[in-house]
């Protein structure tokens, strides 16, 4: 395969994530993923669905370079994750905004500080942080709550803060791991709307979920995993009822 490794600005047809024959097995002999081939282009919105034990968590860990594949190769943007050095991993991760099911906000810091935290980590100057954080909080509809601690926010609002934190460093890819898992249907749909808006502005969104209603409602590309194997990869599809 001729992998397109962009040097500068990404074009619409550029592949931002490529998994070639990726397998992952753990020391205990458990085969988490088998021979996975995925190509994701810039600006795509992709659902990765599957039941417990289907390999979704391993898939996320591989994309974040928390794990390395047993066989096969992974390319994300211009990084070869099989060969990337440990000290370069932080810089690579700055290209991916991660959103978790349990929000993972710092409870002792307010909304502003939680978002600013992501900028501090990548050494953005303080003056720039003061400009960027209010902007991104406005994008997620939380401009008026910047002083509030996460514990006083609803689940939906906490997830918005988490999305703001993922967005503020302007990543090329948003990786959302069950972002609606802890939310009621109304808040879930609002979060999906927000992710769709982010996607429409050019950010690639990978969302791991097993929420059938959301997948069916969104009509985006759906990759279905079952027991570590891709059983379907459908453009503008719905939830695969075989699993």
């Amino acid at each position: 395969m001729a992998f397109n490794r962009p040097k500068k600005k990404l074009m619409e047809d550029d592949e931002v994530i490529v998994l070639n024959n990726v397998s992952k097995s753990y020391q205990a002999g458990v085969q988490a993923l088998s021979n996975i081939n995925i190509h994701i282009k810039k600006g795509e919105f992709v659902f990765v669905v599957g039941d417990s034990g289907s390999g979704k968590s391993t898939f996320i860990k591989l994309l974040l370079r928390e794990l390395v594949p047993t066989t096969g190769s992974i390319y994300i943007l211009d990084y070869n994750l099989n060969k990337i050095k440990h000290r370069k991993v932080p810089k690579f991760r700055r290209n991916i905004g991660v959103v978790f099911q349990d929000f993972r906000l710092l409870k002792d810091r307010n909304v502003y500080e939680n978002v600013a935290f992501a900028q501090r980590i990548i050494e953005v100057p303080s003056a720039q942080i003061k400009k960027n954080v209010p902007k991104v909080l406005a994008t997620v509809g939380l401009a008026g709550k910047y002083k509030v601690k996460p514990g006083r926010l609803s689940g939906g609002e906490q997830q918005r803060v988490a999305i703001a934190r993922a967005l503020v460093n302007k990543p090329s890819i948003i990786l959302a791991d069950e972002p609606t898992g802890n939310l009621d249907p109304k808040n879930s749909m609002e979060i999906m709307k927000l992710l769709e808006e982010i996607n429409e502005k050019g950010t690639t969104v990978i969302m791991v979920t097993h929420n059938k209603e959301i997948v069916n409602a969104m009509q985006k590309r759906v990759i279905t995993l079952n027991k570590g194997v891709i059983i379907s990869d459908v453009e503008k599809g719905g939830y695969n009822d075989e699993i």
Binding site: E66, P90, K91
Partner: protein
């Protein structure tokens, strides 16, 4: 690394202390307790060693000369002895000096009956040593020097002082070693708990793309600050207590204080201050650095 990042990590280190007040307090208390004990032991041992050293300085070897020795030879022997590494100073006592001292101390007015100096052959060198345990080596050398007829020494005193000095050295090393080991163990444990509490934060930082330095630095700074505070508290306490104790001994045990020469607090602190601060900071640094390392690979 940018300046703003340095100050940010420094500030985060300070804030970390207050974010986990209980753990910080436990760490400070642990370091303080250990360094307080260390400081107390050090002060006692430093004084003990000072007293022994003062006593050692009073112990001397005396050499007498052959009857027919010349003044030149006595002078040569003096030069040879001064060059010996064991020797701190020598004092020449002529026959006249010896007789005058004897007269003044024992005879008084009864000395008038003596027309000649009965101690005419008693000119000598009083030799003071750097280290009393080296007395045997010096005596062996002196006995081999032509012109020296007799070497007098106080073997029991030298042996007692030398042994006391060695014992103090071993005891202090043992106690200090145990205290330091306990400190390191306790600090490591406390920091481990502190890191466990913030494991989530470390994990978030790593997912966002924090470098190892950025993750480690606030925790390491926190450790160093805790070590610094933990060593400053006992230093202040000991300074206050030492002065009070010294005044108490001087007032209540006048006989003791006239016999023994105690160190002033400033003399004790010349060594105790840098050592205590160094140990506190070192323990804080090592404890936090090694513990944070374990939680870096997410």
């Amino acid at each position: 690394m940018k300046f703003s990042t340095f100050f940010y990590t420094l500030w985060q280190g300070v804030k970390n202390i207050f974010r986990n007040k209980l753990f910080s307090l436990a760490s400070v208390a642990t370091i303080s307790a250990c360094l307080f004990l260390f400081g107390v032991f050090y002060s006692i041992l430093a004084n003990f060693q000072h007293i022994v050293k003062t006593a050692e300085e009073g112990v001397c070897v005396v050499v007498f000369f052959d009857e027919d020795i010349t003044e030149e030879r006595i002078s040569e022997i003096g030069t040879m002895i001064t060059k010996r590494p064991e020797v701190s100073k020598i004092n020449y006592v002529s026959a006249e000096d010896a007789w005058n001292v004897f007269k003044d101390e024992y005879l008084g007015e009864y000395s008038d009956g003596f027309t000649e100096n009965p101690l005419a052959d008693c000119a000598n060198y009083e030799i003071y040593l750097n280290d009393v345990s080296l007395q045997n080596a010096l005596v062996t050398y002196l006995e081999s020097v032509p012109g020296i007829s007799e070497v007098k020494r106080s073997e029991l005193t030298a042996l007692t002082l030398s042994n006391a000095n060695k014992l103090i050295g071993y005891v202090s090393l043992g106690i200090i070693g145990i205290l330091l080991a306990v400190s390191v163990f306790l600090i490591s444990n406390t920091v481990t708990i502190g890191i466990q509490v913030r494991k989530e934060e470390i994990s978030i930082m790593k997912y966002i793309g924090a470098t190892d330095y950025f993750v480690r630095a606030p925790f390491v700074i926190e450790g160093i600050l805790i070590g610094l505070i933990g060593s400053a508290i006992p230093l202040g306490l000991i300074y206050f207590i030492y002065n009070r104790a010294l005044n108490f001994v001087r007032d209540q045990f006048k006989v003791l204080s006239s016999l023994l020469n105690f160190l002033t607090v400033n003399e004790v602190y010349k060594m105790l201050l840098p050592v205590c601060l160094g140990i506190g900071v070192g323990i804080g640094f090592l404890g936090s650095f090694s513990t944070v390392r374990k939680h870096l690979r997410v």
